[in-house]
């Protein structure tokens, strides 16, 4: 029987982590994601024996993750924008040491202390590196609370499949709002001794060393080449996206996360006005669906990217389109969520300006 529940986004994500068999969570409170830690503190240990620890800072959390992930256990942390900024050195170490873990960013508007309201302004930080050095996170962008649940499970799977940190890039609205979700059954927590993990050197294997230090340039370059090769494979195998009414669309709205849902409504409103509109939604922000966006540009007249930032994914859309057609942008900043009506207005305005 399906297990349906009405849940707040942050709590649904925490519940999914328990059910996915997560071994440990380390985190520090920050609005709008504190419910993740609060929910886990209440639920997790009694049910599965999962470790839940409130660290003294996000720097400590991410380094606890580094240590615990190095043992091959399933570990995660969550935070919101300023906290994720603090974690960047650690994330870079984790990416280089190739440790599997799940990092959740429930984004709030910045820069600076900003506001606790939702935003998508950490796209660059999540997708283009954030910390130092050439590395990539696998970045998942849920647009519903159901996806917050599903991406938590998927995130752990991808993290271990690729030995790479995975980030769920969501926002304060999805974290705080309630929706009906279908929960997957409890996965048993089981501990596998992985050959690379620091679990204690036994006679039948060499020492496990978790490090990101390769002091000789030639060796460091080798490491980099290895990472880049892995990222290429991830690009080949893990791209995920959703198309909504794109088949006959002349106007395509491009958006991720929560905004893609608003865009669907805007596309429907446009169709009521006789404008054939659709929505393209990247689900993985890295790897980014460049080819699919490029192909879509062949069959559409107008691209309108919509984001809750100053136009960050916009740069990837333009790269993908490579000048084939015009790419417009509309967005809101500072924690304001765009309405379907204002997006519709923009569609009408551009549609009139661009000849058929």
């Amino acid at each position: 029987m399906k297990e349906l529940k009405l849940m707040k986004g942050n709590e649904a994500l925490a519940e999914a982590a328990i059910r996915a068999g997560c071994d440990a969570y380390f985190g520090y409170p920050i609005t709008p994601q504190s419910e993740v830690l609060e929910y886990l503190a209440k639920e997790a240990y009694a049910r599965t024996g999962m470790v839940v620890l409130q660290a003294e800072s996000e720097i400590a959390s991410i380094n606890m993750i580094y240590g615990a992930a190095g043992t091959g256990k399933k570990v995660m942390t969550s935070s919101s924008s300023p906290g994720i900024s603090l974690m960047q050195e650690g994330i870079s170490y984790i990416a280089c040491a190739e440790l599997p873990c799940l990092i959740v960013n429930v984004v709030r508007a910045g820069p600076g202390l900003g506001t606790i309201q939702p935003a998508q302004s950490d796209y660059f930080q999540a997708v283009k590196g954030g910390g130092h050095g050439d590395y990539k996170l696998i970045v998942l962008a849920p647009s519903t609370i159901q996806e917050m649940v599903d991406h938590t499970k998927l995130g752990f799977e991808l993290a271990f499949k690729w030995r790479n940190p995975v980030m769920i890039l969501t926002d304060g609205a999805l974290g705080q709002m309630m929706e009906k979700v279908e929960l997957f059954p409890q996965t048993e927590r089981k501990f596998e001794l992985l050959p690379w993990a620091t679990t204690g050197k036994t006679k039948d294997r060499g020492r496990s060393i978790i490090t990101s230090l390769y002091i000789q340039p030639e060796v460091m370059q080798e490491k980099n080449l290895h990472l880049q090769k892995k990222y290429k494979s991830i690009e080949r195998e893990e791209i995920r996206f959703e198309k909504y009414k794109c088949d006959d669309a002349e106007v395509v709205l491009l958006a991720f996360g929560l905004v893609a849902r608003i865009c669907k409504k805007a596309a429907d409103l446009a169709r009521e006005k006789g404008i054939k509109a659709g929505v393209f939604r990247p689900i993985t922000l890295f790897p980014f669906p460049y080819e699919e966006v490029n192909t879509l540009a062949d069959s559409s007249r107008i691209f309108l990217t919509v984001e809750m930032n100053a136009g960050q994914m916009l740069e990837d859309i333009r790269l993908a389109v490579n000048g084939k057609i015009q790419v417009d942008f509309t967005g809101r900043m500072g924690g304001i969520i765009p309405t379907p009506e204002e997006i519709l207005e923009k569609i009408i305005e551009i549609n009139e300006g661009v000849p058929a």
Binding site: N63, Y66, G67, A68, G90, G200, I209
Partner: protein
């Protein structure tokens, strides 16, 4: 040994033939099983090497090699994972105790130790140090206090003595401008999460024997699940102190130890 030297030396690593040094008739005493055969990169006379050997001997004697996980710092001991023949994790600068916390929390039956310099533990990582100790994590923290930043070429450390010359205190540490040498071990000893806290040195044979005992306690106490064991080892840095090894050990005795007195700051079962 500064980073540039490490880089140069790493090219020669494979040139040193172990067999040419370790021929039977030369063997006076053996390496502990818990030290690898990799030649250490530490400068001649540096306390890091002695501290490593003591830790390895204790792990051997306790028979816990297969159950021990070490955490290396960023500092001269960054390559500690090349020398300790146990599973090791190399932490970001200052974060070793958080990394050790992560390991110990998910593997509570393993012996976990961090090995950290004064810059690592008492400057950039002060927050992690205090809170790891305050949570009473069941780990051993080894704190190598040489009063200087060895790896980066001799800058002031939080533990640099008043008046001591470093590359960033060329006229001597002026406490009015640069603050006072930090006795972090005295702070740590106050915390209820700390079960055992001791300060030792490795500049004389007597001190070496006492240091080994403290390290032994630190590992052994992990079995009791009662909190952090914290062992400060006051060491030298002949290269950056700009002294010979012998001079540096003498200077340590005459200047470091009066300010950082040796002994147990917290010993279970004893009124402190």
């Amino acid at each position: 040994m500064n980073e540039r030297r490490m880089l140069d030396d790493s090219h020669y690593e494979n040139l040193i033939e172990e067999e040419s040094v370790c021929i039977n008739e030369n063997l006076v005493y053996d390496k502990p099983e818990t030290l690898t055969k990799t030649p250490m990169h530490y400068c001649p006379g540096c306390g890091h090497g002695v501290a490593h050997r003591l830790i390895a001997e204790v792990i051997d004697e306790l028979g816990i090699q297969e159950k021990t996980i070490g955490v290396a710092p960023v500092g001269c001991a960054v390559f500690a994972y090349n020398y300790f023949n146990v599973d090791m994790s190399e932490a970001a600068h200052g974060r070793a105790s958080a990394v050790a916390t992560g390991i110990k929390r998910v593997l509570p039956d393993r012996y976990v130790f961090s090995y950290q310099g004064d810059g690592d533990l008492a400057a950039i990582g002060t927050g992690e140090t205090i809170h790891t100790c305050n949570r009473g994590e069941n780990i051993l923290i080894i704190f190598i206090n040489n009063g200087i930043y060895g790896m980066t070429g001799g800058q002031m450390a939080p533990t640099t003595l008043e008046g001591m010359k470093t590359t960033t205190t060329p006229f001597g540490r002026d406490v009015q401008a640069m603050g006072y040498p930090l006795k972090i071990t005295e702070l740590i000893a106050q915390l209820p999460g700390v079960y055992y806290c001791s300060r030792v040195a490795v500049n004389t044979p007597v001190h070496v024997r006492k240091a080994k005992k403290a390290i032994y306690n630190g590992f052994k106490f992990q079995e009791l699940n009662k909190g952090v064991s914290f062992v400060e080892i006051v060491t030298n840095c002949p290269s950056n102190w700009k002294m010979t090894p012998v001079e540096s050990n003498k200077w340590l005795e005459e200047h470091m130890l009066p300010f950082y007195p040796l002994g147990d700051l917290k010993l279970p079962g004893k009124e402190n």
